[in-house]
């Protein structure tokens, strides 16, 4: 098992490096000159040329790429073209905010999504089932900035329960996290419901029932554990969506996270920030997926043995 984890960690390094190369290529190919963006349109051609030289923008592509990777390995992610400050500092201060937001969103999604999915499955075709599947469809379809604004109007403006902007307290994370969780929550409801339905039809469930197990132990112990596998996969995959989906939410709720930093950096061709931000997100996402894979091992002994076989 330990060997498996080490192998996965090794692969993660390659993934992050691969992503860094792709992003570097894309940033080099898109139009827009960082020197002009920094100096502004009224700068003279001489000033622009001087800055380009200073920033090393005239070096060949691979020289620039390997320079960057070399520095990165020393922990130097370079300075932002826009602010001149070390990139690492800015990302380090904003990344936890985005992570907290994504984690809380995932928590809400699972907290509501899984139980509702289970209940829908147990009471298939009942009123509860109908309501929850309809709401799931609604949450999956509504654009998240619309949902965000609605939640803001109802819970912040009218009911004064939560603040609308910023991240001063735990309360400020609630509305944005709820908004962010909507899509995943809907997915989890439907996913849990369908896997539970399938599992409940299995022979071993019938066996358990005939052996006299209580309905509760059947659902929670026997059925849920098997149904959870695909659900946990969804959680892992959706975490990536959540990390990326924070951009709009951060904009609507004025949250200083990685999303807004990344968008501004991409627009201004602030390559060091873009590179570092995307690599951090890639790293976070890879770690979440690794965690999900490890959790599999604990839920399903068959998978654990597969890991150990390697």
């Amino acid at each position: 098992m330990g060997k498996y984890i080490l192998q996965r960690l090794g692969m993660m390094v390659f993934v992050v490096l691969g992503i860094s190369f792709i992003i570097f290529v894309i940033m080099s190919l898109t139009p827009g000159n960082p020197a002009i963006l920094i100096l502004g349109q009224s700068a003279s051609p001489d000033q622009i040329a001087a800055l380009e030289e200073k920033m090393g923008l005239n070096n060949p592509f691979f020289v620039r790429y390997f320079d960057y990777i070399g520095n990165m390995l020393h922990g130097d992610f370079g300075n932002s073209y826009l602010t001149g400050l070390p990139v690492f500092d800015d990302i380090f201060s904003r990344f936890p905010t985005t992570l907290k937001l994504s984690a809380l969103a995932m928590f809400f999604a699972a907290l509501v999504g899984i139980p509702v999915g289970v209940i829908s499955a147990i009471r298939q075709y009942s009123f509860v089932d109908a309501i929850s599947t309809t709401l799931a469809l609604l949450f999956a379809s509504i654009p998240n900035f619309v949902l965000g604004l609605i939640l803001m109007l109802v819970f912040s403006l009218n009911l004064h329960m939560f603040p609308a902007t910023g991240v001063q307290s735990f309360a400020s994370y609630v509305l944005p996290a709820l908004t962010l969780s909507a899509m995943t929550m809907a997915t989890l409801v439907r996913m849990t419901r369908s896997t539970m339905l399938e599992v409940l039809k299995q022979d071993y469930i019938r066996t358990a029932r005939s052996k006299g197990a209580t309905e509760r132990s059947i659902v929670l112990t026997h059925a849920l554990r098997n149904a959870l596998l695909p659900v946990i996969t969804v959680i892992g995959v959706d975490f990536g969506y959540l990390l990326g989906g924070t951009v709009v939410i951060e904009s609507v709720f004025s949250i200083p996270g990685i999303g807004t930093l990344l968008i501004t950096a991409i627009r201004m061709k602030d390559t060091p920030v873009v590179m570092a931000a995307i690599m951090f997100v890639t790293l976070a996402y890879s770690l979440v997926n690794l965690t999900v894979d490890i959790i599999y091992a604990f839920i399903d002994p068959r998978i654990k043995s597969q890991y150990e076989k390697r």
């Binding site: 827009g32 609507v252 807004t260 627009r267």
Partner: protein, 516 residues
Amino acid sequence: MLQSTKKKWVQVLAVSLTLSMVLFGFTACGGSSKSDTSKTRDDLVFATANEPNSLDPMAIANMSTFTITYAIYDNLVEENSDGEYVPSLAKKVDISKDGLTYTFTLNKGVKFHDGSEMTADDVVFSINRTIKKGWAFDMTAFIKSVKKVDDYTVKMTLNRPFDGMLGSLASPFFSIMSKSYLQKNGDTSVERKPMGTGAYKFVSWKSGDNITLEANEDYFKGAPSIKKVVFKPITDKDTGLVALQNGEIDAFLNINNSDIQTVKDDSNLAFYSTNQTAVLSLIMNTEVKPLNNEKVRQAINYAINKDDIIQGALEGVGTAANSAIAPTCSGYSKDVTGYSFSTDKAKALLKEAGYKSINLKIKLKEDSKNQKVAQIIQSNLKQVGINVEIETMEAGAYSNDVYVNGNYDMTITSWFAMFPDAYSLLYSQFHKDCYGSTGNITHVRDNTLSADLDAAAEASGDAKIAAYNKVAQYLNDHAYVAPLVYENTTITTNAKLKGVEANPLGVYKVKNFSWK
């Protein structure tokens, strides 16, 4: 239902309820609402349109950031509420009869926030820095030299008279900085840690979250009433409105036009509005066929229905433009004849020019308001046989095409003046020396126009209005641009905030605000 399932359901419900109560418990302490103010507040939360990219006035990319620098820095002179330029760091300004020599007598004992005294050295240093940085070239072009006479006297010599010199000196580009601070900490230090003489000292900048300033109790004009100012970036206008109504922020600029009535009806909020020092215009690349034909450009001017634009794209807010000069800029006159809407005249002109149908492209930066404007223009021009395609581009690509390479037919922008003077609006856009990325993207190289612009810059008083009248009329007659709408700039604040006035540039002096 089975007893066990019912029990299970109750348990799930119980767990969810408990968790929700825990959550609400957190929120009870967290959710702050500033709507009840039993004692007078001494802080202000001011929303900016974007996260500032820098606090160095010479490096700022967004107009709203200048509100922050105006709080931290002072200038030699400043504009008062009547639009006059009154002493600030300079207690006296003597201008020679020929308008070429400005002598500034500085106030003594004015301290920078680090305790050092502001003297002539700092003034000379700051002005020379502004000249070197190049951004304010249209203002610094008039300055021949600036020299220290003694510790409290500075002499500035111009190479031509310039009526807008005081206005320029009052603009953010001429903020007075500390020579010793910059020399000790490096030129870029002021981007994140500004050092000024202003009413507010810089305290902290939490990236993406807020910039905090505190009152300078030793401010030479008297400590400001509000003791702490927090600037928060809020990009979404709907969020801005909610935050205002919630009491989370005290001031927000340029709310959605559709929300103006809501704000006016809310007794907790106050709304201020004035014309912008910018003109929403359709810019035509006069080097591209058939836009190089004056009759075609005139036809386009006639074909556009400005009222449609105001109603359709701007929610009815704004006035039709008659000239390329905004009403709040000195030099503006109502007497300049613009183009009234006439499809017939447009068609006739196109026929004279020999065109039956024309295909043109409008390139736009991602900006939803101008999208609607473009669509209306597209349908207006279709009526006269001009087929317009609208292309929306990412900012870097747009800048490359339109500004750097001049590779475009038409675009829609509002060029902002840095101080309320027709010079600041027109020079960079239409003078032949500013061809290309420095501002003249219409690519107009007209000697008469350039000479007239130069002459107007030197005029003052009634002669100035006459001179700019001539320029504006010339621009209209040759249809070098199609001015569309004079838009409004607004500020919405907590109704209890005093001392607020709408500012045409959208830049505010928070040192003048106070709480009722």
